[in-house]
């Protein structure tokens, strides 16, 4: 069958909402796009463990410590689901790691910002995980089966993350003056980077059309961003705090909140590696990987020895059963 025909059949499946599975024919671009997106998503989960992991040993109560540990562990699990989904497309996890470690592959820029106070654990849960959920829920209906299934799992687990974050902020907002200040400060620092998580605005996104057609993506960046702003502008009232945007205002005609201009210069600089923590995040990942090399080798070496012993044992058994003479 020629490629044109296959492409048509492929698009027809997509249009009929039939999932694409690993062994099905798919256009090279579709595969490449998915590998890039899934691996970057996986990297984001794994690098995302670091800013929060930073506070596990300093969590202010045993309950918070246990919750934070469980949450960061979930992120490792999400990374694992996503790497596994990526592997169905014909790339190994080691190859994906190599791309991350060499700086070729990217991860969500939000994790290049520092976590400075305990309130940041709250702000990350509420805003960063909130933005992630807004993005991920539509992804759980994406056209590629393994990715969609991984996202279903992720979304199911993610809702506890956002709730625990909001609870941290809510507790701080009812606390002493220092705690309330900490709370507002964290919101101030995380608000704009969270809005940037949705990516560049639609009129700068010529490729959105293609991934919408492939149903990898189901809403545009700006649509999701607007939804997020609308939700947060209401939620922040429960905290008695404010979002750091003087232009934020309800627009009766549009039935949406208007909000101020995003600093895209900052966004692209952080993407390019000039954010506050890009270098240390990557260095930490590389170091963990390199320090683990001997461990990974040892486990394989042991497995090889065990297999060889088993083989020798089987051979001797077989020989001893052979009729004599």
């Amino acid at each position: 069958m020629d490629t044109t025909k296959l492409s048509e059949q492929f698009q027809q499946k997509i249009d009929e909402d039939i999932k694409i599975e690993p062994q099905d024919w798919m256009p090279d671009e579709y595969r490449k796009t998915l590998i890039r997106q899934i691996s970057q998503h996986a990297h984001s989960e794994v690098v995302g463990m670091l800013p929060e992991g930073n506070w596990i040993t300093r969590a202010p109560s045993l309950r918070r410590k246990a919750i934070l540990l469980a949450k960061v562990q979930d992120e490792a699990g999400h990374g694992l689901y996503l790497y596994a989904a990526g592997e169905t497309l014909g790339i190994t996890r080691d190859e994906m790691y190599q791309q991350l470690h060499s700086g070729k592959a990217k991860y969500s820029s939000i994790f290049n910002y520092p976590t400075l106070t305990w309130a940041d654990m709250g702000a990350i849960g509420w805003l960063v995980d909130g933005a992630a959920i807004m993005n991920q829920v539509p992804l759980s209906r994406c056209s590629y089966g393994p990715y969609a299934r991984a996202m279903v799992r992720v979304c199911k687990e993610e809702s506890f993350h956002q709730r625990q974050g909001f609870e941290i902020l809510l507790t701080l907002s009812k606390g002493n003056a220092a705690q309330r200040k900490m709370c507002q400060d964290a919101i101030n620092r995380w608000w704009w980077p969270s809005l940037m998580m949705f990516g560049p605005s639609d009129n700068n996104s010529p490729h959105t059309a293609q991934s919408m057609q492939w149903k990898i993506k189901r809403f545009t960046n700006d649509e999701l961003r607007q939804k997020f702003v609308d939700v947060c502008a209401e939620q922040v009232k429960f905290l008695g705090m404010t979002l750091p945007d003087k232009d934020l205002k309800w627009n009766e005609a549009k039935q949406h909140y208007d909000f101020g201009a995003i600093n895209w210069d900052e966004f692209w600089n952080v993407v390019k590696g000039n954010g506050p923590c890009n270098k240390e995040r990557l260095a930490t990942r590389v170091q963990a990987w390199e320090n683990g090399a001997w461990v990974r080798e040892a486990a394989l070496a042991y497995e090889d020895k065990k297999a060889a012993r088993q083989y020798r044992y089987n051979t001797t058994q077989a020989e001893s059963k052979m009729p004599a003479g």
Binding site: V46, M49, L50, G53, I56, T57, R58, P60, S61, L62, R63, R64, K65, A66, L69, A70, V72, Q73, A76, G77, G79, L80, Y83, W118, I168, T171, L172, K174, G175, N176, A178, Q179, T284, Q287, A288, N291, G292, A293, W294, V295, R296, E297, A298, A299, A301, Y302, K305
Partner: protein, 279 residues
């Protein structure tokens, strides 16, 4: 006259029970703290998750134990309770958190072994292995303790510990019988940690009192522990060990290595910066 003696003994046993519970809680918390330092830095994603799971179990155990200690303390007149626990910020109420966050180094009763730095993966694995074997036999005996709640906590924890024991034994074997490098690192880990194992089997006064009723003997604990260690070491092609008479000691009675101060400085700073705040 005779009944007075009995009352005194019961008080002494309650005091010992509180100390014992705190001792167990401190071991769990400090192990949980050390293991949680690995979160995000493991040698492979799956093992990162596994180790974090274990850290979570330890933190969970410490919470159960601190909650029980807090309950016992809250039942006492406040003055009496405060005389038993050396808080350096006096809490409004004694809770799991005030016990974990408002005591300083001298009040912590964990073994020296568990506050030692993580080192590499070999040293961390070995420490978890030592701890798991110790806890496995200790909790098996503790399940019969006269104190029902302590026995119940032991019973719940023994399931988790059984898994930690399996997981860490397998890793000891893999590393011992893996590559030349992994074996070398295991031998180094044994060298680093062995001076601290003797303390596990040297009962503090409160342990002798508290464990007296269930005939828990530290000699038996020690021989069970050592047999298991050497059995796994043999499979792992690591040299057999024995417990000599000289070892580092003091943690159980509040005399620690320099490492614990750093752990607590990190762990407790928020609670100490904002005393009595709610988090």
């Amino acid at each position: 006259m005779e009944s007075d003696t009995i009352v005194m003994n019961e008080t002494a046993i309650t005091d010992a029970l509180i100390d014992c519970t705190l001792q167990l809680a401190d071991d769990s918390l400090i192990m949980g703290h050390r293991c949680s330092e690995w979160c995000g830095h493991g040698p492979v994603l799956e093992q990162d998750i596994a180790l974090t799971n274990i850290a979570l179990d330890y933190v969970g155990q410490s919470r159960n134990l601190y909650q029980y200690a807090a309950l016992l303390l809250e039942q006492l007149p406040k003055e009496k309770a405060l005389s038993l626990v050396d808080f350096d910020i006096i809490p409004e109420h004694i809770t799991e958190d005030s016990l974990a966050y408002l005591r300083d180094v001298g009040a912590f009763k964990n073994h020296l072994l568990f506050e030692q730095p993580n080192g590499d993966w070999a040293q961390t694995i070995l420490k978890i292995f030592f701890f798991s074997v110790y806890r496995f036999y200790l909790f098996q005996q503790l399940q019969n303790n006269a104190d029902e709640r302590l026995a119940a906590i032991a019973e719940k924890s023994v399931k988790e510990v059984t898994y930690h024991l399996k997981w860490s034994s397998e890793w000891v074997i893999r590393l011992g019988d893996g590559t030349d490098e992994s074996k070398f690192r295991m031998l180094q880990a044994i060298d680093a940690l062995w001076p601290f194992v003797g303390e596990l089997f040297e009962p503090a006064g409160y342990e002798t009192l508290c464990y007296y009723s269930d005939m828990l003997t530290f000699e038996r604990l020690r021989s069970d522990w050592l047999n298991k260690i050497n059995q796994i070491f043999e499979t792992a092609t690591l040299p057999p060990q024995s417990i000599g008479r000289w070892h580092q000691t003091g943690g159980k009675n509040g005399y620690h290595s320099e490492h614990l101060g750093y752990i607590l400085a990190e762990m407790q700073f928020l609670q100490r910066t904002f005393p009595n705040a709610i988090w």
